[in-house]
């Protein structure tokens, strides 16, 4: 029998798929853009959920990986469009507009960044971990601002959306389909991870790191691995987000972005497979409805979030599924 959470998850997946199709049918292209945004931000949140939800690592620095993924897309595309190689020595590296090349590069770059930041941050826990991930992301942010080669503070435009073989990425529906499939794949991967031996160790590390060490499994290695996987997903999401907006700027790297990705995860419910996607959807719907009510919609959102933390724990899916967080 299907659990209530599984039913809700299916509903979210179907709803997110239906929205752009309806938007297309009723000639509301804006709806397609919003749905694409939900899919991409949901992907970033799904990544963070691995670190924050399953691993208990409260990272307030995932904007670094999200933004780096974005810059990879922007930088590779700009070099391709200018016919200017990135490097000539020791070997010739040219830009590209192929998503199938951009994504792996984005994943590797953000993964390496997560490895370095994670290895340093995981020397500590608790509040220190939060502050350190935040600080390192800020470092990347300031670097992007002060490094003028790729637009500095002004950011970098991607004049033509990058390409995917067999699809027309400039068609909003096609681009949505790409993002949607990647989101579902990432959620599927999260599911497998959470059920695997590694997931068992990761969940164990969250609950009791000392217990894990006592049975001879290094909590550090387990958590670091999860942090890198988490950063990689955020990086892929960043590359897609850059293509959605056809623009990258330091704001993708800002601490505000980190906070937002975290809000998606908690709003939807940590350790829920579709939690981050539900959270991102809710956030974007709120942004667009509250935004119509008042230009100061962030004030309402802030108050709503405070109320949510104080009075409703377990996130939206937790409330709907009517059950406590599971392991």
């Amino acid at each position: 029998m299907m659990t209530r959470e599984a039913a809700i998850s299916l509903l979210i997946a179907a709803g997110l798929l239906a929205a752009p199709l309806l938007g297309n049918a009723f000639d509301e292209p804006f709806v397609i853009t919003l749905a694409t945004k939900v899919a991409i931000l949901g992907l970033a949140g799904t990544g963070l959920n691995i670190a924050l939800g399953y691993g208990g690592m409260v990272s307030l620095g995932h904007a670094a990986f999200f933004g780096l993924g974005g810059y990879v897309a922007g930088i590779l595309a700009s070099h391709a469009l200018n016919y200017e190689p990135l490097f000539t020595a020791p070997l010739l590296v040219e830009g590209t507009t192929q998503m199938l090349i951009i994504w792996p590069v984005a994943i590797v770059v953000s993964g390496v960044a997560a490895l370095v930041i994670g290895a340093l941050s995981l020397r500590t826990t608790g509040v220190f971990f939060i502050m350190i991930t935040l600080a390192f992301a800020q470092m990347v942010y300031y670097f992007a601002i002060s490094w003028p080669a790729y637009g500095g503070e002004d950011g970098l435009s991607i004049y033509i959306r990058n390409e995917f073989p067999g699809l027309n990425t400039l068609n909003p529906l096609h681009f949505f389909a790409i993002c949607y499939v990647l989101l579902i794949l990432a959620i599927g991967l999260s599911f497998l991870l959470s059920q695997s031996r590694f997931g068992l160790a990761l969940n164990g590390a969250r609950q009791n790191a000392q217990r894990l060490a006592t049975v001879g499994i290094s909590p550090f290695r387990v958590k670091l691995t999860a942090f890198v996987i988490s950063g990689m997903m955020a990086g892929l999401a960043g590359a897609l987000y850059a293509d959605l907006n056809r623009f990258v700027s330091p704001s993708m790297l800002s601490w505000h972005t980190s906070g937002e990705i975290m809000v998606f995860v908690i709003l939807g419910g940590t350790r829920r497979l579709f939690g981050p996607t539900a959270g991102a959807a809710l956030y974007i719907v709120l942004e667009n409805t509250l935004g119509d009510v008042s230009e100061h919609w962030l004030l309402l959102l802030g108050a709503l979030l405070v109320a949510l933390v104080l009075f409703a724990r377990g996130g939206v899916i937790g409330i709907l599924a009517g059950q406590p967080r599971h392991a």
């Binding site: 924050l52 409260v58 307030l60 340093l120 941050s121 020397r123 500590t124 826990t125 608790g126 509040v127 220190f128 939060i130 502050m131 350190i132 935040l134 600080a135 390192f136 800020q138 470092m139 300031y142 670097f143 601002i145 002060s146 490094w147 003028p148 080669a149 601490w255 505000h256 906070g259 975290m262 809000v263 908690i266 940590t270 100061h296 919609w297 962030l298 004030l299 959102l301 802030g302 108050a303 709503l304 979030l305 405070v306 933390v309 104080l310 724990r313």
Partner: protein
Amino acid sequence: MTVSLIVEQLLNGLQFGFMLFLMAAGLTLIFGVMGLINLAHGSFYMIGAFACAAVAAATGSYWVGLAASLAAAAAAGALVEVAVIRRLYRRDHLDQVLATFALILVFSEGTRWVFGSFPLYLTVPDFLSGPVALPGGIDYPLFRFAIILIGLVIAGGLFLLIARTRLGIRIRAGESDREMIAALGVDIRKLYTTVFAIGAALAGLAGALVGTIQSVQVGMGEPVLILAFVVIIIGGLGSIVGALVSAILVGLADTLGRFLLPVAFDTFMDSSTANNVGSALASMLIYILMALVLFLRPTGLFGTRAH
């Protein structure tokens, strides 16, 4: 490059360091006593600056404005503590982070609502404007010099408060043993509200002073907040001495790095590249410093407690 230029940068670094200390001291007190991570601490910095700008403009007196910055930030701190923060002490850090992140949205957007999106400017009061002549024939802006002195006085006052007063004893007791202090019959709620308000007031004062030499705008608190985090990470959590030493270290490193690195790179690069590389590196310098401390001494320079 002249000696006076270097001295000026040194003093700028000191001034920056003391302002960071005002922020970091409040954060570390609040964490030490209540075990709370407060992302909204930067909002008190902003509130202090806006209160000072608004009141100074209305009354024509900078000093009334400065007093208002302390009062407004302390009041906002006490109010938030009673309404929201108090319910978070027993929650995990994740809830604290989310709730205080949400409070930033409330404060920033609320301030934007009241004051609009354009920055406000404060004027340096007459008798603190102009330069001060330092030994060696160096001219330095008097107001910045005054900020250093104010920082010094507040740091001293804070140490006295913690070492000598009844409130200080309670703060120290609260840091070492929360149950003990309740058993001693201290009204712990009042203590927490007081500590939170003091932390907020320090941040508010820093905001007003820095707002006077820069500008007063929404969101001005967050970059400073993150720097204050860096200060705490380097200094060690819960240590006021650590916060002071590390704040000055960070203030000096950041200021001198921005000034000296481009010059240093200029000696072996062409000057536009040197400027780019130098300033990019300077913007990352204190984070590199933080990474180094973490690598060598994960508990921070003065931190003893395991986190």
